[in-house]
Amino acid sequence: MLYTFMVYIALSVFAIGLIYSLSSWFRFNVGINADGMTPWARIRAAIKGIVGLFNKEKLTVLGKVFVFDILLQNHIQKQDRLRWIMHMLIFSAFMFLFIFHALDQIIVTPIFDRFYLMMNPWLIIAGLILLTGLSISLYRRYILKVPRLKTSGMDLYTIIILLLIILSGLFMEMTKITSYEYYQKIWWVHIVVCLFGLAFLPFSKMFHMFTTPLSLLANAVMDENSDPANIATRQVMELDACTHCNTCSRHCSVAVASDHLGNDTILPSERMIFLKEYVANKNISSKKLAAIGQGIYLCTNCDRCTVVCPAGINLRELWFSAREELVRNKPPVDLMLTPFSYFRGLNHRRIDQEQYDIPLENVKSMLTSGCDFSAEMDVAPIVLNQGSHEFHEALGLSKRIESFTYCFSCENCSTVCPVVTNYAASQQSLDLLPHQIIRSVALGLKEMATGSKMLWNCLSCYQCQEHCPQGVKVTDIFNTLKTVSLKTTSSTGKK
C-alpha cells in the first residue's frame, strides 16, 4: 500500500518536473532570439519544425544520428576512449536494469512468466558493470584529475544517487538468502532511493538522458537559418542537454586566461551552469554580471567547443545569443574595445544596427569620459598631475615603456599613422594625435593619455613605433595605456 502510494507520488513529481522543464524551453530565451515572442507562438513554430522533418532526407540524417551518436556515442569515443568506456558501461547497464528490472512487471513477467528468476544473475552482472563505470568516473575526477574537469554539486549528486541505487540493489540480492529481515530493510532503502532519483530526475543532470539525444537530433537538422523561434527554444533546451562533461573547457582556447584570472565563467562548461540559472532568473548582482560579461566576451570564437561537444550543442550560437544580451547590461563589457569583438563585428548584419551600436558607444564613452578635450584644448592651462609618479609606476616602467622620455615631438608617429591619415580633421575626430598622447604620458596627464579616441581606435599596426627615430615604443605604450585604463574602470577587478 505504502509502496504503491510512493510510486504514484514519485511519478507525479516526475511528471510535474517534466512539464516544468519542457515549458521552460518555450518560456525562456538566451539573448536575442525570439525576443518578445509568446510561448504559444514558439510551441507552434516547434510543431511546424517537427512536421517539416518527415521527409526521407531528414529522417535518414536523424536515423544516422540516433545510431552513431546516441546509441554508440561516437562523439565521446572520438574525444576520450576512457570516458567512452565509462559512459557506455553506465549507459548500457542502466538501460538493461531499467528495462528488465525496474519495469519487470511490464516486460519480464509477461515474457518469461514463472521463469523470471533466471534474469537474476544478469541483473547482478549489470549491477557490477554499472559499478565499474561509476568507479571509472570517480577515478577520472579524483585520481587521474583530468585537467579543468570541475566537479559541481550536481555532478556529485549524480554519482552518489547512482551509487546508492546500485549498492543497495546488490546488498539486497546478497541478503536475500541469509536474512529476510535485512533483505526487507534494504529493499525499502533501494525503493526509496530509486523513487527519489526518478522524482528528481527532471531537475537533475540525469535529465540529460532525454535532452542530450534531443540536442544531437535537433542540431543535426537545424542551422543558422532555422526559424529564430526554434533556435531560441533549442538554446534553452541545450542548457538542459549539457552534462557538464567539461570536454569544451578542456579544448577551450582561452582556458589559460581563466586559470590566471580566476574567472571560471570564461570556461564554456561553467558558462553553461551560469546560463541555466540566468535564463530562469535574470536579476543577478552587478558584480556577478560583470564577471560573466568578461567570461562570455573573453572568447576567440575558435569553435573548438562546438566541434567537440558530445551533446552536439551549438555552443557558438549560444555564446553569440548570450553575448548580445549581456553587452546590453550595465556596467558595459570593457573587453568590447579589444580584438575579442572581431566575431561580433563580422556578424554585425545579424544584429539590429541600433542594438549593435549602443553597447559599443557605452563602452567608448565610459573609457573616454575622463577628459573633456573640447574644453581643455582652448582655455584650461595644463596643470601637471600630482599623481604622475604613480601613473608612471602603473605603466610598469619596463624598458620598452620607459622609452617615452626620449620623444622630441617630431610627429613622425602621427604622420605615418593610418588612422590619423584617414580623417581630414584628424585632431577633432580623434581628440589627440599619437605624438600628443606620448607627450601626455611624459607630463603625467593620465586622463588625457588614456581618454582620447585616438587611443581606442589604435590598430596596433606598429607603424608609429617602427618609424620613431628616437626608439620610443609608441604602440607598446598605447597597449599599456589601454591596459591601465581598463584596470581602473573595470568592475571585474582584474589582477
Binding site: 574595445l337 579589444t338 572581431y342 590598430l459 599596426c461 613605433q465
Partner: protein, 299 residues
C-alpha cells in the same frame, strides 16, 4: 627532412580553413613534415591591449609546448606570429617574468626556456625551403597574372622583435609570388594595415582602411591580393564581400592565401587547396594557368 609543429591559432580552424588545408598540401609537396599538437591554445593576441600578464602566459604556454616537442613552430597567422614573438622577447628580457611564467607553467609540467623557434610559414618557405627548391616543384606557372602582396603588420613590425624582413622595403613575399610566374605589382599602401583589428570596434574605420588599400591595388593593376594571414584574408575576402554591397565598390580584388596561389602553380588540385572555401570567387585564377598549358600543347 624539415619538421615543425604546426600552430594554427583560433581564426583558421573556425573561419579560414582553406589556409590550413592549402598550407598542408603545399608542405607535403615540399617535403615539410608537420606535427600536430592538440594542446595548443590561443596565442594571446586578443589580450595584448587589455591584460599584458595574461597575454604573456597564454603565449608562453604554447611556446613551452613546442619546446616539449623539441620542434620549431610553423605559424600560419601573422597576428599569432607577432604575439608569440613579442611574448618571447618580453620574457627573455625579464628574468623575473620568466620565473613567474615558469611557476605558472609548472602546474601543467611545462617550462619555457626559449629553445623553440617561432617561424612564420612564409619565412619557412623562403629561408628553410628556399626559392630554388620551390621552383623545381612549379609545374603550371601563371602567366599574365598580377598580384598585390600584402605583408601584414604583425610579421613586419616591430622589426626588432619579429625579424621577418626589412620593415620598410621587404621583398620576401614578392619573391615567393614571382616564383609562381605571377607578377608582383608595386603599390604604395602595401605595408599598411588591412583594418581587421578594428572589426567590431570601429567598423566604419576598419572598412575605410580596407577600401583605401583595395583602391590602391586596383590602381596598381592587380588582379588579386595575396596574403599570409587569416585576419588579412578575412578582411579582403569576407569583409570586402560585405563592402561590395554596403559601399557599392566599383571594382573587386579577390584575395587569395599564398599557399593556394603556390599550390595552383604546383599543379595541386582545387580541392586540396580549398579554392571553393573563399567567400569571393577565385576560380578565374585557373584561367591564367590554362593559357600556359594551352600554349604548351600548341607548341
Amino acid at each position: 627532412m624539415m619538421k615543425y609543429t604546426l600552430f594554427v591559432g583560433c581564426n583558421i580552424p573556425a573561419r579560414v580553413q582553406q589556409y590550413e588545408l592549402a598550407a598542408r598540401s603545399v608542405a607535403v609537396n615540399l617535403g615539410i613534415e608537420l606535427v600536430e599538437n592538440q594542446e595548443f591554445k590561443c596565442c594571446g593576441y586578443p589580450m595584448q591591449n587589455s591584460d599584458n600578464r595574461t597575454f604573456i602566459l597564454m603565449a608562453a604556454r604554447n611556446l613551452a609546448l613546442a619546446e616539449k616537442d623539441g620542434l620549431d613552430m610553423m605559424v600560419l597567422c601573422k597576428c599569432c606570429f607577432g604575439s608569440l614573438k613579442k611574448a618571447a622577447h618580453q620574457i627573455q628580457q625579464d628574468s623575473k617574468l620568466q620565473k613567474e611564467v615558469n611557476t605558472f607553467l609548472a602546474k601543467e609540467d611545462l617550462s619555457y626556456s626559449g629553445n623553440a623557434e617561432i617561424k612564420h610559414f612564409l619565412s619557412i618557405l623562403f629561408h628553410d625551403v628556399g626559392l630554388t627548391e620551390i621552383k623545381k616543384k612549379i609545374s603550371t606557372p601563371f602567366t599574365d597574372l598580377s598580384v598585390a602582396t600584402h605583408y601584414g603588420c604583425h610579421a613586419l613590425r616591430p622589426s626588432d622583435v619579429t625579424r621577418f624582413d626589412d620593415p620598410v622595403r621587404p621583398s620576401l613575399f614578392d619573391d615567393l609570388v614571382k616564383v609562381t610566374g605571377a607578377k608582383s605589382v608595386e603599390w604604395p599602401l602595401q605595408l599598411e594595415c588591412c583594418g581587421a583589428p578594428l572589426v567590431g570596434i570601429n567598423d566604419t574605420l576598419s572598412m575605410d582602411l580596407a577600401e583605401k588599400k583595395l583602391a590602391d591595388c586596383n590602381r596598381a593593376g592587380a588582379d588579386y591580393v595575396c596574403v599570409g594571414c587569416p585576419y588579412c584574408q578575412m578582411q579582403f575576402d569576407r569583409v570586402q564581400n560585405m563592402m561590395v554591397s554596403e559601399r557599392e565598390l566599383t571594382y573587386e580584388i579577390p584575395s587569395i592565401v599564398y599557399p593556394q596561389l603556390l599550390g595552383l602553380a604546383m599543379g595541386l588540385s582545387e580541392e586540396s587547396l580549398g579554392l571553393k572555401m573563399n567567400t569571393m570567387t577565385i576560380s578565374n585564377l585557373e584561367s591564367y594557368i590554362q593559357m600556359e598549358t594551352q600554349m604548351e600543347t600548341e607548341n
